[in-house]
């Protein structure tokens, strides 16, 4: 602890112990605890207490019956726990009878303060901290704390109840880890009394008829097997697994979600997953739980690296069931693809969808979401039923838009439940997008594009559904490029393209801005992939899409303008933007470059301006024709505009653009290689002409840290290019250096008005050399509140708020 903190500590303890001096801010106490924790982790707690008796006094003070606020009481309990985590310190506190006073019967446990949830929570967290050593275990057993923990598991405050469960896990771990360390599988009779007590309690709970008790026990076990990897967990599972299995025999199965969590926790534990009984229980759970409850278990099982194949098949069929049912509902002929064959398929025929609409929708959505997550995994079930899955998703989407023809009464009900359901539409479109990773029979792919087009065309598609439909369409278009890697669209996709552009045209005129926005994003993506491809170019240029996109630069919604900027950038870099249709107005900018510059200088919102900067950067990097012709001429006005922008992201983007420009002049970043002197001089002159340095130097002192960091990076790069490693070229100080440095100092002091004036390349180099940019970079790398976050500042703040320090003029915030 640094001396200043040590000096402030007694005053702080006095403030905390004084009920007349309320501590206004809980977060201060939390920060204080964090600090003490860090201090005790770094050194001896005992020493700390001996050096600072005020701390022990504070803890003793809390014991006195008085009117202390519950937050101070809670703080003291947690603080005591932190100190007592070290065994010698624990004993030190034990000698003073401090711990029984705080955590035992005479403490807050019996007092009125116990009614405050924060005190109960502090009590639990204190014990959780101190439960680190055998002495603590004895203390817990002797003080009767374990019974209190049992009762706190049912606490009305969810935080307290959950913390109590975690404390039980801690106690178990502490009790069983010690004696069982190294042994293969400790038997129950070896367990310490404290552990036996906890385990008996858990057994009672599991046998209980009251679902909340069962849930509590299952939560404790899930945490235990999830966090503790000791061999003793095997013994515990062996003892409790029959009780868990018995839960599955009840009707209805109690606490199904907690049970699923437990089984998955056990299955993921490297110590326990070798137990064959576990897989039997899991299989039983899969068959006993309702499809909605079993879904997460099935998905979890399928994500496991290794588990019995039979179980995986069973789990997969649970996930496929709802989709198989959908397929059955529309199956006209027996020849249609089935998702589930044999026994599982027949089983499904009996088991229909839940009768209520919301339950049915929930089941379908979760099945789709699970399958979506499973698809890209290497351990996904094999063979993956790509074709029937595609057929099922297409059918679901058809049910949702009312175009499916159900073949049975159940199908009719399903149709009535799904028509117009946005949730299912979103889930199905997401999954359909993922399915584009695998191929399907051409006939099905045709159906996929057909249904996607239906959704894109339909006026009833909600904006979110439409966005998903656009995304899925893009994925399918990408996957249909044959052969893989070739960027040309296959003939069928080319046919689709014509219809897509017609839809897009209409969507870009939608009164709903979200729709216009997702339409533009889709266009940008498409152009990025196929902008150079003949049939795409032809189709696009034949449509009104490019002209509409240009018009959307004036959209009233800033997000749409930003997307339009990106789309215009992409279109014009492929030469797909035709000249504007009104050449009679000379005021209207002609080239895309001018148009975007106009947005940058006039748009009132940040998003479109940021988008413009990204487009310019991309254009410069990719050598877009208009920019590549005369980069200096193109970059200069952009940098000027960016340097004056009020939005810091635009300024950062401006510096990024400058960096790219610099790289093109001086060669890429990387291992420091100096540029040839001739090139360097030319480059510096060019940089001076575009007034980069004024922008960069000003940015060094920008009040937004990312801007300053970016500028620092830029200047460091330039410095590295200008002065090859080791050599300290001495270029005579130009007459301007002094004035430059003076200006920099003024900027640093916050006076922004002063312009830098004309700069000579030599002066720039001299300034660069004289500046300690590396140090500046390090300072900037620290978070902006690093000064305010120091413990000393914390203590000062706390004292200042209660007026002990006497100088209230310091504004901490």
């Amino acid at each position: 602890m640094d001396p200043e903190c040590a000096r402030l500590l007694p005053a702080l303890c006095a403030v905390l112990a004084d009920p007349r001096q309320p501590v206004a801010d809980d977060t201060c106490l939390e920060k204080l605890l964090d600090w003490f924790k860090a201090v005790t982790e770094a050194g001896s707690s005992l020493l700390l207490l001996q050096e600072h008796p005020c701390l022990v006094e504070l803890l003793f003070h809390v014991l006195k019956p008085q009117d202390l606020s519950s937050r101070i009481l809670s703080f003291a309990l947690r603080l005591a726990g932190i100190f007592a985590a070290q065994e010698n310190c624990f004993q030190f506190l034990q000698q003073g009878e401090l711990l029984p006073g705080l955590f035992g019967e005479p403490g807050p446990l019996g007092a009125a303060a116990w009614a405050a949830p924060s005190v109960r929570s502090g009590w639990i967290q204190g014990l959780h901290s101190l439960a680190q050593h055998p002495s603590a275990l004895r203390f817990l057993a002797d003080s009767g704390a374990v019974d209190t923990i049992f009762s706190l598991q049912g606490d009305p405050s969810l935080f307290v109840a959950s913390a109590a469960g975690q404390l039980l896990v801690r106690v178990l771990d502490l009790a069983l880890r010690g004696p069982a360390e190294g042994r293969v599988c400790p038997q129950a009779w070896d367990w310490p009394a404290c552990a036996r007590k906890v385990v008996c309690h858990l057994e009672d709970c599991l046998r209980s008829e009251a679902t909340p008790r069962v849930t509590q026990a299952l939560h404790v076990l899930t945490t235990t097997f999830g966090h503790c990897r000791g061999l003793w967990t095997q013994g515990l599972w062996a003892r409790l697994s029959p009780l868990v299995a018995r839960l599955l025999e009840k009707d209805p199965v109690p606490a199904p979600h907690a049970l699923v969590d437990l089984l998955l926790g056990v299955a993921r534990s490297p110590v326990l997953s070798s137990d064959p009984g576990l897989w039997e229980t899991a299989a039983q759970a899969l068959s006993r739980l309702s499809p909605t409850q079993a879904g997460p278990l099935a998905a979890g099982i399928l994500k496991l690296q290794d588990c019995p194949q039979a179980l995986r098949i069973q789990a997969f069929s649970i996930l496929l069931q709802p989709l198989a049912h959908v397929l059955e509902a529309t199956a006209q002929a027996p020849g249609t693809p089935r998702l589930l064959e044999g026994a599982a398929g027949d089983l499904m025929a009996v088991d229909t969808f839940p009768p209520s609409r919301s339950a049915c929708v929930g089941l379908l959505c979760s099945a789709l979401a699970h399958l979506e997550l499973l698809q890209p995994l290497p351990q996904r079930p094999s063979p993956w039923p790509q074709a029937p899955l595609l057929a099922a998703v297409v059918t679901i989407l058809r049910f949702c838009n009312g175009s499916a023809a159900p073949s049975s009464e159940a199908g009719g009900r399903l149709c009535a439940m799904l028509v117009g359901c946005v949730r299912v539409q979103r889930a199905a479109l997401d999954f359909l997008g993922v399915l584009s990773q695998g191929l399907g029979p051409q006939e099905l792919v045709t159906q996929v594009f057909a249904i996607l087009l239906e959704y894109l065309v339909s006026p009833d598609s909600s904006p979110t559904v439409l966005k998903k439909a656009f995304q899925a369409t893009l994925r399918w278009l990408l996957s249909s490029a044959t052969p893989p890697g070739c960027c040309d669209l296959e003939p069928y996709a080319q046919l689709v393209l014509g219809e897509l552009l017609a839809v897009l045209q209409k969507r870009l005129c939608s009164p709903c801005w979200e729709v216009r926005d997702s339409g533009l994003e889709f266009l940008t993506q498409m152009t990025r992939h196929w902008g150079g491809q003949g049939s795409f170019r032809q189709a696009l240029l034949g449509s009104e899409v490019p002209e509409l996109t240009r018009q959307l630069l004036q959209d009233p919604e800033s997000y749409v303008r930003a997307s339009a900027v990106a789309a215009v950038g992409q279109l014009s870099s492929w030469g797909l933007l035709t000249a504007p249709s009104s050449p009679e107005h000379p005021a209207v900018p002609q080239t895309p470059l001018e148009e975007l510059l106009l947005v940058l200088t006039t748009d009132s919102e940040g998003f479109p301006r940021r988008a413009v900067m990204r487009v310019f950067t991309e254009w410069l990097r990719d050598g877009y024709a208009d920019v590549a012709e005369d980069p200096e001429q193109s970059v200069a006005p952009v940098l000027r505009a960016a340097s004056r922008d009020l939005d810091w992201e635009v300024r950062v983007q401006g510096l990024e653009l400058a960096l790219v420009f610099l790289e093109q002049l001086l060669g890429p970043r990387g291992p420091s290689t100096a540029a040839p002197p001739g090139a360097l001089t030319q480059a510096l002159q060019a940089l001076c002409r575009v007034q980069l340095f004024e922008f960069a130097f000003r940015s060094l002192f920008d009040c937004d840290r990312p801007v300053a960091q970016k500028s620092c990076d830029l200047l460091l790069f330039l410095k590295a290019k200008a002065t090859p490693s080791g050599s300290q070229q001495e270029v005579g100080d130009g007459p301007n250096v002094a004035s430059v440095e003076a200006a920099l100092r003024r900027w640093q002091a916050g006076e922004q008005g002063q312009p830098l004036g004309e700069l000579a390349p030599e002066a720039v180099l001299a300034v660069l050399r004289s500046m300690d940019l590396e140090a500046l970079r390090d300072t900037l790398a620290e978070s902006s509140d690093h000064v305010e976050r120091s413990p000393q500042s914390l203590l000062q703040d706390m004292l200042a708020t209660v007026g002990v320090l006497g100088d209230n003029e310091a504004d901490c915030y």
């Binding site: 009719g412 149709c415 009535a416 209409k506 005129c509 939608s510 018009q551 959209d555």
Partner: protein, 636 residues
């Protein structure tokens, strides 16, 4: 209680007979038969008049009338909205109709505008000749399809005249929402806001003990009219449900979005947009949406034209019916702001209106533009001219928003057509999801609706969601069918004159229940029933009066006292024993008891509502036993 059904479910015309009144519910005019005719061009069209095999002769006429009911017996007509009164002149004129028509003020005013527009459209292109011989069945079947398949052409009528319209409208009595109107003292009718159009109403038809709700053309969406009053529909015995949306699969919001997108797309490419529409109703909402949309879509320089003989009145009327508007618009009345934003569109010259394409319009006309004009059937009105004018260019678009006509049929005489056609039917009336919510909320005992609503549409037979779903299932009826409504009237309210009531002496027979006998004269007039004191018995004096009085006295028998109460068997047996009867046996039966007096060979059968003494011709014994029985009963 009977319901007669005529015509189309969205243009309903039902007749309800309820407590001796005959009430016609709406009289919509099904104009789909106009689609069988050629368009009436404002300007002579060489193309239309030279179409092979077609001749341009007959007048447009479209009443479909059955002989189900004698219209002169209809007592009242209740109108629910202006679209449902278009057949009024056919019913009130030349049929002997003597009754009254009830409707709200906006319904009448806007209804008048619609009729005026219709008459104007037809009359301004007078026909040189008209033919009706073809309606002869033998000739009709020789005509090309679809004419030869048209049904009941003999009932088609010529369009009415303005004189007939005025005469019909003069029979209307204006009513306000929630106003109670007594019909002959028998029933009370009340209009309620239905949320569909300005002044549109549902009706409650009730007597003291029965309530029938007539729900027609209602909307739960937030558009310009006052929201629907659902609460007053509760506790109905029967709810007659008509006028649901014609396009249950089209969501009005999506359609408005579609309308705006297509409009913008066309105009941006330099094309013109034609919107065939009625002069009132959805057009107000469309103009409001466009008002918000045009600036954002960069269309502020595009002129909007609204052409109708009644355009001006329609736009102005809409602004003055403040009390009939939704809350949001009502509040604007108190600000210096018109309720509808189309006023601002007019002020800023973005929206211009003209009575017809002649005159000012031809001077102002500028393209590209958007034109709203009638008639949605594309058979008459200024729309015919624009179809001819713009049909040849693929830059132009016609957007159909009115769902009353099949747009493909409407377009048929204009084919081949280069202009784009977009179908965005906007029908804000209830859809089936809203109906099931409404029925859950209102919980009528019985629902009665046209047969079409009880099954999925024929084209989408799998859409089980597109039908009325309620418990108990709705009773359905077909066109021209008579349906007995599923409840019987059991009670009637009768008033007692105060002096008669004063003379009554109630006796409490159970706690809270008192009875009194009453002798009175039931006086019934105008469906009101009153109990009056009977005339006094004959006075001994006053010989002249005596005779008359005795004539007036109803010939009534001496009244036997009324009995009530029950006979406790055990006590009854004890009493019998006291009075010297012996050898008494009691048997329990399903309905009560039998007391056997074996010695006297007599049987007393005591049941809940009757007591029989069966003995052999021993009148003395019977009277003795009767008096014993009567001891246990109360008498009035």
């Amino acid at each position: 209680l009977k319901l007669y059904r005529k015509r189309h479910p969205t243009l309903p015309c039902n007749v309800l007979k309820f407590k001796s009144t005959t009430i016609m519910l709406d009289c919509g005019l099904d104009m789909t038969s106009t689609l069988n005719f050629l368009p009436l061009p404002l300007v002579q069209s060489p193309r239309l008049s030279n179409l092979p095999g077609w001749s341009l002769k007959d007048g447009n006429a479209f009443l479909d009338k059955t002989e189900l009911i004698d219209l002169s017996t209809v007592d009242v007509i209740l109108i629910s909205n202006y679209h449902c009164m278009m057949a009024l002149p056919y019913i009130t004129e030349h049929t002997g109709f003597m009754g009254t028509v009830y409707a709200t003020e906006p319904t009448v005013q806007i209804g008048r505008l619609l009729m005026e527009e219709l008459v104007n459209f037809i009359e301004r292109v007078p026909k040189a000749q008209s033919a009706s011989l073809w309606k002869n069945k033998d000739i009709q079947r020789l005509l090309p399809s679809p004419l030869k398949d048209a049904v009941e052409v003999s009932t088609w009528r010529r369009c009415y005249t303005m004189q007939e319209v005025n005469s019909a409208l003069s029979k209307i009595q204006l009513v306000g929402y929630s106003q109670k109107i007594e019909l002959f003292g028998a029933v009370q009718v009340t209009p309620l806001s239905s949320g569909y159009a300005l002044g549109s109403s549902n009706w409650i038809i009730q007597s003291h003990y029965e309530k029938v709700s007539y729900v027609s053309g209602s909307s739960l969406l937030t558009t310009h009219p006052q929201p629907m009053d659902q609460a007053s529909l509760k506790n109905s015995d029967v709810l007659i449900l008509t006028g649901l949306t014609q396009i249950p699969t089209a969501n009005p919001d999506s359609m408005v979005g579609e309308f705006c997108s297509n409009l913008a797309l066309t105009v941006r490419n330099g094309g013109n947009v034609l919107v065939p529409c009625y002069p009132s109703g959805v057009i107000y909402d469309l103009l409001e949406c466009l008002y918000q949309y045009i600036d954002s879509a960069g269309l502020s320089s595009i002129p909007f034209y609204f052409i109708s003989p009644v355009a001006n009145s329609s736009l102005e009327f809409s602004q003055i019916f403040a009390e009939w508007l939704c809350h949001n618009k009502q509040t604007k009345v108190y600000l210096p702001e018109p309720p509808f934003p189309h006023a601002e569109l007019i002020q800023t010259n973005k929206l211009k209106h003209y009575p017809s394409i002649h005159g000012d319009f031809s001077n102002d006309f500028r393209q590209p533009c958007v034109v709203f004009t009638g008639h949605p059937s594309l058979r008459f009105g200024d729309v015919v001219h624009f179809m001819e004018l713009w049909g040849k260019s693929s830059l132009n678009t016609v957007i159909f928003t009115e769902p009353d006509f099949s747009y493909l049929e409407a377009l048929a005489p204009y084919q081949p057509l280069a202009m784009k056609c977009i179908y965005c039917p906007i029908d804000t009336r209830l859809n089936f999801i809203q109906v099931s919510k409404l029925l859950k909320e209102v919980q009528p005992l019985h629902v009665v609706c046209p047969e079409q609503y009880t099954q999925p549409p024929p084209a989408q037979s799998h859409r089980m969601d597109l039908m009325v779903d309620c418990q108990p299932p709705a009773m359905s009826y077909r066109r021209a069918e008579v349906l007995a409504l599923p409840f019987k009237r059991r009670y009637e309210k009768i008033e007692i004159m105060p002096e008669l009531a004063d003379s009554l002496v109630p006796m409490e027979i159970k706690p809270g229940i008192s009875l009194a006998t009453v002798s009175a004269v039931l006086h019934t007039k105008d469906n009101k029933h009153v109990l009056q004191p009977p005339p006094r018995p004959a006075q001994p004096t006053g010989g002249k009066k005596r005779k008359r009085a005795s004539d007036d006295i109803p010939d009534c028998k001496v009244l036997k006292p009324l009995l009530s109460g029950s006979i406790p068997v055990d006590q009854f047996v004890q009493t019998l024993e006291k009075h010297g009867f012996s050898d008494i046996k009691v048997e329990d039966t399903a309905k009560g008891h039998i007391v056997l007096l074996q010695e006297a060979e007599t049987l007393i059968q005591i049941e809940e509502d009757s007591t029989h003494i069966i003995c052999d011709d021993d009148e003395v014994l019977r009277v003795r036993l009767r008096d014993l029985v009567l001891k246990f009963l109360q008498k009035f």
